[in-house]
């Protein structure tokens, strides 16, 4: 019975296979397609080992793309949340450096001029807020020391930031005034006043040189413009190292001519005669004739060291605002002028 059934099934399968032979590809046609395929594969290179290795790795983990996307999103989210959380941090907190870094980036991205000044103002206000927040924290036995440190840190930060902001605003105001935009300058001025007033409420002293409204600074600038010589003199007295270096080169090193000449050009007019006399430099015809300078050098060269030792300490000022070094130099200048007058009269005779 079972053999009979099996025979019938086989017949049915044969019928099916016969019917399915309609799907077969005739041998000749198959050969033609094979020839086409074989010639095509000669032109088509197989996938490289690197890409296949990559394919294997990706195939082993079919979720690599969603995983990558998720990790990138998670990273961005974590960074964003950290930066956001840092905006509530106070000086001394763990996230405070993140906040400062964010502000630094903000400042660097801001265009120069008014936008940058406004960013500085915003940051100064933030410092003042931080200071008031720290002041609002109630003192407890455990946190007294930490709190006082935080308060001090916040005060220093606020001082620096407010000073920087006011300085920047003053510059913007000056630029606006130069352009004749008085209305905008006034608005900037009011910002300065408000910021300084706000700083005062938090007991933050803004430096005097800046001025509460920027007017003092302007006056100071005007004064500087009126007396550029004085300014130049002050700058040079504050930088004695260059002078000393210049003199040393002139006296001992003959190869340093260029450097010493460049020093001469920048030297203040008050110091010029004595320095040229002491170092034996002959390239200043407008100051003194050559022979007289050389003659004077023998007399004044001994006083170089004391002059510079005194000039390195600009804090030692007399009542009329001149340093002792400047006084000595003036005296030497007078002496040199007198001598030159004598030689001129002798030559005339």
């Amino acid at each position: 019975m079972s053999i009979f059934r099996a025979k019938k099934t086989d017949q049915e399968i044969f019928r099916l296979k016969k019917a399915a032979s309609g799907f077969d590809l005739p041998a000749k046609r198959n050969l033609e397609i094979k020839a086409r395929v074989m010639s095509a594969i000669k032109l088509v290179p197989q996938d490289s080992a690197v890409s296949s290795a990559m394919g294997k790795n990706f195939a082993k983990n079919p979720l690599w793309l969603p995983k990558l996307a998720f990790s990138v999103l998670a990273g961005v989210g974590l960074l964003g949340s950290t930066v956001f959380a840092s905006s509530y941090s106070l000086p001394g907190d763990v996230l405070y450096p993140v906040k400062k870094a964010k502000e630094k980036l903000e400042l660097q991205l801001a265009p120069a001029g008014r936008p940058k000044a406004l960013v500085l103002v915003k940051q100064a206000e933030e410092r003042l807020h931080e200071l008031s927040d720290i002041k609002a924290i109630p003192t407890q036995p455990g946190n007294t020391e930490k709190l006082s440190k935080q308060k001090e840190e916040a005060r220093v930060q606020a001082n620096i930031q407010v000073s920087t902001a006011v300085e920047s605003l003053a510059q913007v105001k000056k630029d606006l005034e130069d352009k004749g935009n008085t209305q905008a300058a006034e608005s900037v001025n009011s910002t300065i006043v408000n910021l300084v007033a706000r700083a005062k409420t938090e007991d933050v002293e803004v430096e005097d040189r800046i001025g509460a409204s920027g007017e003092k600074q302007e006056k100071a600038e005007e004064r500087q413009q009126d007396s550029p010589k004085e300014k130049e003199g002050q700058e040079k007295v504050k930088r004695p190292e260059g002078e000393v270096r210049g003199l040393r080169h002139k006296a001992g090193d003959p190869d340093s001519g260029k450097q010493s000449r460049s020093q001469e050009v920048t030297l203040p007019k008050v110091l010029m005669p004595s320095l040229t006399a002491s170092s034996g430099v002959t390239s200043l015809p407008n100051v003194l004739p050559q022979g007289q300078v050389l003659g004077a050098s023998t007399t004044t060269s001994t006083s170089i060291e004391p002059q510079h030792s005194s000039s390195t300490s600009p804090s030692e000022k007399s009542d009329d605002g001149m340093t002792e070094a400047q006084k000595k130099l003036l005296e030497q200048q007078k002496e040199a002028q007198e001598k030159s007058g004598q030689t001129q009269t002798e030559g005339g005779r």
Binding site: A19, K34, A40
Partner: protein, 188 residues
């Protein structure tokens, strides 16, 4: 020679080995494609494309991940999908005469005579109409076993069933088709 050895050689760029792979799979793949595509000409083009894709992707094939058979059918399925997508985007009218024009199909000129071709087409149509009357899983087993000529093991792997289950389904499907054929008075 063992096919797995040929596969390894072909993976290293041996075209002779690939030629043997072609011989082993061209018939099966053509039937598989022809089942989905009514146009013989298109089926031939797709077959050619499938073999070029197999050649290109051979270095990516990893024996540990599955049988070569399953991989080859996956490549063919992707090529078919690409073709169908293309057709869907730019529909093309295929005339029935195309299937029977001897000038367009060189193999037909030498296929003893046109009568055989027509018989084969008719048988296919009849088989198709009978197949639509049996459950889907029966259809698949008949397709894999007798049209694509796969083994019981390969069919079981593709359907995710045991060998025994495949044999059982095959037996029931044949009986069902026989009944249908007799009741519809169809002979192929």
């Amino acid at each position: 020679m063992d096919l797995s050895e040929q596969i390894k050689k072909a993976q290293n760029g041996d075209s002779q080995a690939f030629s043997r792979i072609y011989d082993a799979y061209s018939g099966k793949l053509f039937r598989y494609i022809r089942l989905k595509i009514s146009s013989r000409q298109h089926a031939e083009d797709i077959l050619q494309e499938v073999f070029v894709k197999i050649w290109r992707g051979l270095p990516n094939y990893d024996q540990e991940k599955g049988t070569f058979n399953a991989w080859v059918y996956r490549v063919a399925a992707n090529a078919l999908n690409d073709f169908l997508r293309k057709i869907y985007r730019a529909p093309e009218t295929l005339e029935m005469s195309e299937e029977f024009e001897s000038s367009k199909a060189p193999w037909q000129q030498d296929a003893t005579d046109m009568g055989k071709v027509l018989d084969a087409e008719l048988s296919l149509k009849q088989l198709g109409s009978l197949m639509s009357g049996i459950p889907e899983v029966y259809q698949k087993v008949i397709e894999y076993r007798f049209i694509q000529d796969l083994t019981v093991e390969e069919t079981a792997e593709l359907l995710g069933k045991t060998n025994l289950a495949v044999r059982l389904i095959q037996h029931r499907a044949i009986n069902k088709l026989k009944k249908l054929r007799k009741s519809n008075n169809v002979n192929f």
